[in-house]
């Protein structure tokens, strides 16, 4: 008897296994298949992959040192070959003779680091605040949501600039200054979803089973409200890159000698009459990177949940 049952159970298990495998492949396989299907998003992914490789291994992509100056040579146009050194400057050189391509390659590091870390930090803070606000409701919710309104009212770039100026510019301070304000949309979004999820039966079930608020929030509610927040996060990486570039452009980003895209553009503003290339190439690098994150973000949103189409 028991032998029979085991055999049946084994068959059933095999059947279920087969069924699950046939209906629902692993999420990363589905993601891969969907990405291969969407050529625009695939192009975005490839560009972003390339930019990440540039940011991680700048030595491999930059022809020369980003710091080496040649003031006597000065600003030279793209494809200039220095007859003395024999060096070819594909993107030209800046006002003090530094190779522009090498500076743009090294600039990728700051842009991508700031873009990713600000999104991770502010996303985490925002999700936590939204979760607490929506779950507890009442005065906790009122206080946290007024805090959201207050931060929303600040002129964002000026707030970040002031913070960087007061705390003295560095990579960590730039990340902090941007994250201070950027958690707000996550908090609003997650709070909204928590309000509807916490009324659902499985949450009541968790509570009836004697689980504490922390367990209910993190095990039951969080997994059900995370998707829109993750979508917003992927879509905002590009914006963070633009904001970092704006801070550097205004002179309060990661300080020199570290090359940043915004910093190179600020130099370019001074030589716009005589050396157009300093203004053009760093901007193209920013646009290409941001465009690729936006395309990938759009695809990711549709992949996670087509109903989220309105988010951006």
């Amino acid at each position: 008897m028991s032998g029979n049952v085991t055999a049946v159970e084994a068959r059933a298990a095999e059947y279920v296994d087969l069924g699950v495998a046939a209906e629902e492949p692993a999420w990363w396989r589905r993601a891969g298949a969907s990405l291969l299907h969407n050529k625009v998003a695939l192009a975005g992914a490839l560009v972003l992959f390339f930019m990440s490789a540039v940011a991680l291994f700048p030595d491999a992509f930059s022809p020369y040192s980003p710091h080496e100056q040649n003031p006597a040579m000065g600003a030279r146009p793209p494809l200039y070959q220095n007859p003395e050194t024999g060096r070819l400057h594909v993107f030209g050189t800046d006002a003090i003779g530094r190779d522009l391509l090498s500076r743009i390659v090294y600039g990728a590091q700051v842009s991508l680091t700031v873009g990713l870390t600000t999104v991770i930090i502010s996303g985490t803070i925002g999700v936590l605040i939204g979760l607490i606000s929506g779950y507890y409701g009442g005065w906790v919710d009122s206080v946290l949501m007024r805090l959201v309104d207050i931060f929303l009212a600040f002129p964002f770039v000026l707030l970040a600039l002031s913070l960087v100026a007061i705390l003295k510019p560095s990579l960590a301070i730039v990340i902090f200054a941007i994250s201070v304000r950027i958690w707000v949309p996550y908090a609003r979004l997650v709070r909204g979803s928590v309000l509807s999820v916490k009324e659902m039966e499985f949450v009541a079930g968790g509570r009836a089973a004697g689980l504490g608020p922390a367990a209910i929030m993190f095990k039951y509610i969080l997994p059900n409200v995370l998707a829109p927040a993750v979508v917003v996060a992927t879509l905002s990486v590009g914006r963070m890159i633009i904001i970092e570039a704006s801070l550097s452009f205004l002179g309060l980003g990661v300080p020199p000698p570290t090359p940043t895209w915004g910093g190179i553009l600020a130099d370019g503003r001074n030589y716009i009459d005589t050396a157009w290339w300093i203004c053009v190439f760093p901007g193209l690098a920013i646009m290409l990177t941001v465009l690729s994150t936006n395309l990938l973000g759009d695809w990711f949103r549709d992949f996670i949940d087509p109903r989220l189409k309105g988010l951006d």
Binding site: A153, L158, S162, I166, L265, I272, I286, L291
Partner: protein
Amino acid sequence: MWGYVVRRCLQSLVVLKGVLVITFLMLHITGDPASVLMPEDAQEDEIADLRRRMGFNDPLIVQYGRFFVSALRFEFGISFRQGEPAMKLVLDKVPATAELAFAAIFIALLISIPAGVISATRRNSIWDRSSMLGALLGQSMPNFWLGLILLLVFAVWLNLVPSHGRGTFSHLILPALTAGLYATARITRVLRSGMLDVLGEDYVRTARSKGLRENVVVYQHALKNAAIPVVTVIGLELGIVLGGTVVTETVFAWPGVGRLTVNAILNDDFPVVQAAVFFLAFMFIFINLVVDLLYAWLDPRISYK
């Protein structure tokens, strides 16, 4: 309706108070505002002297009380660099920034309304695809870079417009395009999806079946209804543009609040920074309040929520 108006106004006051607290704390975040205000090579006794003069030795709450009382009178102290009241310096620059912000929104609407409507009515046509591509590119480039490229092409190469300053219409056009970049992209997208929703509605079909001309159906029946979410976006964008003309003003040397503030930040002129940040936040809150009330008036269901 009146209950909603009162509630919404009180809420705005609470937010404004919070903005004041953070504007005050900004300078105290390092714990020693005097050394933030002094140059890096300042002597210890100079810093101590400043600390005494500015009242930084008093308990924080006393300092905040003083700050709060002056802020109620719109006073944020005297500019360290220019020797004039900080708020006066900011208010002097407001017309320039307001001119730029309104021109930016105007140009944004001029581009985005036809683009959004045509995209929706001729879905998947070449017009739709190019305006969606334009919106995507617009959202992907830093607006100050667009400003630099416009400057390069129209001021340096073609010599059609002046490269900096304020005065005539030709001074305004490039900065307004630059400052309105994101608003243009966003309004186009919002309007397109709003129009797509509305064009499928029964009353649009009714209007068509009455034999009305397509233009009347699209512009008088559909656009009016699709415009409601756009009003919110315009209000939000106006607030964002007002506070976000900072980079545009720097690129075009536009003498507005943003440029004043960036220079004040770079020169540690804190009264001016606090006055400007407070003023811009105040405007943002005010515009949002007006938009919300307008919205409730357009769509009365809102005030009963």
